[in-house]
């Protein structure tokens, strides 16, 4: 069975994005082993000169390295990815490169009707940066709008259309992971470029 790391894209105690990932964890239990990862205790990224990474970052990096794929669920703050998630990605590309060529699926939940559309677009752009260079599943937005009323008491999605959509996207993601494994011709070069990406020299 495939092993996935699901990153909760916020440091808030209450989060419908966390709820969405918990819902997926249960709903897809027969298809993949999904482990939730929190970023809320990460210290503020400040480009430490000695490149020492906090232990929590190293742990998550190791988990991502070992996983077949990553799901990131992002809220939207001020039309953009929350600082806490930007912070996590800053750390996870500072002298370490766990995301290079890693299959990533993006989801997002919002209280309003837009479902974090702008944050997701920004997140795609971030994951495309040379020092992250993830393999983001194309054409696959999952935007969960009105997220406060989207779940039942057992944390299942109420809306059938949403469930269908998520089922489809998740099945695609399983295949996308396999396809991505074949897109390996540039992998060594990508890894090398990511490593050569220097926050100082660029």
């Amino acid at each position: 069975m495939k092993k996935l790391i699901a990153i909760v894209g916020t440091n808030s105690d209450q989060s419908t994005n966390r709820q969405l990932l918990q819902c997926m964890q249960k709903h897809f239990a027969n298809d993949a082993e999904i482990e939730l990862a929190e970023i809320k205790d990460f210290p503020m990224f400040n480009k430490p000169v000695d490149k020492t990474l906090p232990e929590c970052i190293q742990k998550l990096a190791a988990k991502i390295d070992a996983a077949d794929g990553v799901i990131i669920s992002t809220p939207e703050y001020d039309h953009a990815v929350p600082a806490a998630l930007i912070n996590a990605l800053n750390w996870l590309s500072y002298g370490i490169y766990p995301f290079v060529d890693k299959p990533v699926m993006i989801t997002g939940a919002s209280y309003g009707v837009l479902g974090s559309s702008r944050a997701q677009a920004q997140l795609r752009q971030m994951l495309d940066a040379p020092e992250l260079r993830a393999r983001i599943m194309p054409s696959s937005e999952f935007l969960l709008a009105n997220s406060l009323t989207a779940f039942d008491a057992d944390n299942r999605l109420l809306d059938r259309e949403s469930v269908k959509k998520l089922d489809g996207l998740f099945a695609d993601f399983m295949i996308f992971i396999d396809i991505t494994a074949q897109l390996n011709h540039a992998h060594n070069q990508n890894k090398k470029e990511a490593k050569e990406f220097s926050w100082d020299k660029l």
């Binding site: 808030s12 703050y77 001020d78 953009a80 600082a83 806490a84 930007i86 800053n90 971030m126 660029l202």
Partner: protein
């Protein structure tokens, strides 16, 4: 013109900081740029609201009081750094100081792109409801290959870059003028002019309206007196010495606490000899007692502006003392160590002798206009144009945000004159 420059990086060494320092130095004649750091501001977390912390409140106040803001952003992972985004989240959560604030974006990076993508994201973020800044369109200042861009003295080497920066900054100054017209004056909360609330230092169960409030309150709290020592920042004085010192300052000083209770004035003269005719029996009064009802709107406006941080000082000439005086009422906001509003220090003085002294000692003179007999000052010499009837300066010497928020003050009633 007063601008705030936000260093978008929390790194110890940042070229974006260099860039702002260069702008500060090079364009000192165009505007006064204060550079502010964000590196100690903690990560935004909606479950751990730190909006009331000193750092965020200070930043809030500085932004509110600035005519415009320049943000210098680095680019990490094709977007703005987490530290800068975090600050913008704090500034759009419970408080919104950037609302309608003119903002200009600059950025420098080690490589060719010069933060192009981060700047686009930053525009999008600044445009979000809750942030609501008015970002200057176009005029992107992207400084790529920044390690080679400055000389040893911290100056930009390339002439074309300097010319473009100069043009951009001049446009920004004009943009601020245009953008300020879009700003709808903020409706500030009502002030409790009758001091019906209570703060930690309020002396309870004493009639605030009583003429002998001081004596009654004194019996309640038994304050230190006479030759008892008091430790101050910075020194140790006896109560007598503090009293003597306050009385020897050539200002009429009045203190109103954050509950709008009039608690002190330096009692140096009888009521009729003062610019503002304080009476010993007024001490302890709610501030509403000290003004006629028709002046309440003005009092409300001044205190609300000070409390909100919209401004830290309001100045009003009060031209009712004859042509040989130029009496100015100053209202300065006081803050405690945590940055919270702690009341008003009102100090009143006649600045005419100061101006005369300056002219005599420097041999200069006021030129270029008729002296306004009512306000007693040459309009051209004293930069703001004084409206002798309303008694409020329409064009406040420096910051624009002060003036538009203030309704005209009725010079006849004075802001703090008792009927």
């Amino acid at each position: 013109m007063k601008l705030l420059g936000i260093v978008g990086s929390n790194a110890d060494v940042s070229y974006n900081r260099f860039l702002l320092q260069y702008i500060q130095k090079e364009y000192a004649s165009l505007f006064d740029l204060e550079i502010i750091e964000i590196k100690d501001i903690p990560m935004f977390n909606q479950s751990d609201d730190l909006t009331d912390s000193v750092m965020i409140q200070n930043l809030n106040r500085k932004i509110l009081q600035a005519d415009g803001v320049i943000i210098a952003t680095p680019e990490h992972n094709h977007t703005v750094p987490a530290g800068l985004k975090s600050v913008l989240e704090w500034l759009s959560f419970k408080i919104h100081p950037l609302q309608d604030k003119p903002v200009m974006i600059v950025g420098c990076s080690f490589y060719d792109q010069g933060t192009s993508r981060a700047q686009l994201h930053l525009r999008q973020i600044l445009d979000a409801p809750g942030v609501g800044a008015i970002t200057m369109p176009g005029n992107e200042f992207l400084l790529g290959k920044v390690k080679e861009a400055f000389d040893d003295l911290g100056n930009l080497k390339d002439e074309k870059t300097r010319a473009f920066l100069s043009e951009t900054l001049q446009k920004f100054v004009r943009f601020i003028g245009v953008a300020s017209q879009l700003k709808v004056p903020e409706k500030l909360p009502e002030e409790d002019l009758h001091a019906t609330g209570k703060i930690a230092t309020t002396i309870a169960d004493v009639d605030m309206h009583a003429d002998d409030w001081v004596e009654q309150a004194s019996a309640k709290v038994t304050p230190v007196k006479g030759d008892t020592y008091v430790e101050l920042d910075r020194g140790i004085l006896t109560v007598d010495q503090i009293n003597g010192l306050l009385k020897s300052i050539p200002l009429e000083i009045t203190f109103v606490d954050s509950n709008n209770q009039f608690l002190y004035y330096n009692h140096t003269a009888d009521s009729e000899k003062m610019f503002a005719h304080r009476k010993p029996g007024q001490v302890g009064n709610p501030i509403g007692d000290c003004h006629p009802a028709r002046a309440y709107a003005h009092v409300q406006a001044v205190i609300a502006a000070l409390r909100s941080g919209q401004t830290d000082r309001v100045q009003m000439p009060v031209p009712t003392h004859g042509p040989d005086k130029y009496v100015v009422h100053n209202y300065a906001a006081m803050h405690d160590e945590d940055g919270h509003y702690a009341g008003v220090n009102e100090y009143i003085l006649d600045i005419k002798p100061i101006v005369d002294f300056y002219l005599k000692k420097t041999g200069q003179q006021l030129t270029g206009g008729k002296v306004d007999a009512v306000s007693g000052a040459s309009q051209k010499a004293a930069a703001p144009q004084v409206d002798a009837v309303s008694g409020a300066s329409k064009k406040e010497a420096a910051p624009a945000p002060v003036a538009p928020a203030m309704p005209k003050v009725d010079g006849v009633s004075g802001a703090s004159k008792k009927d």
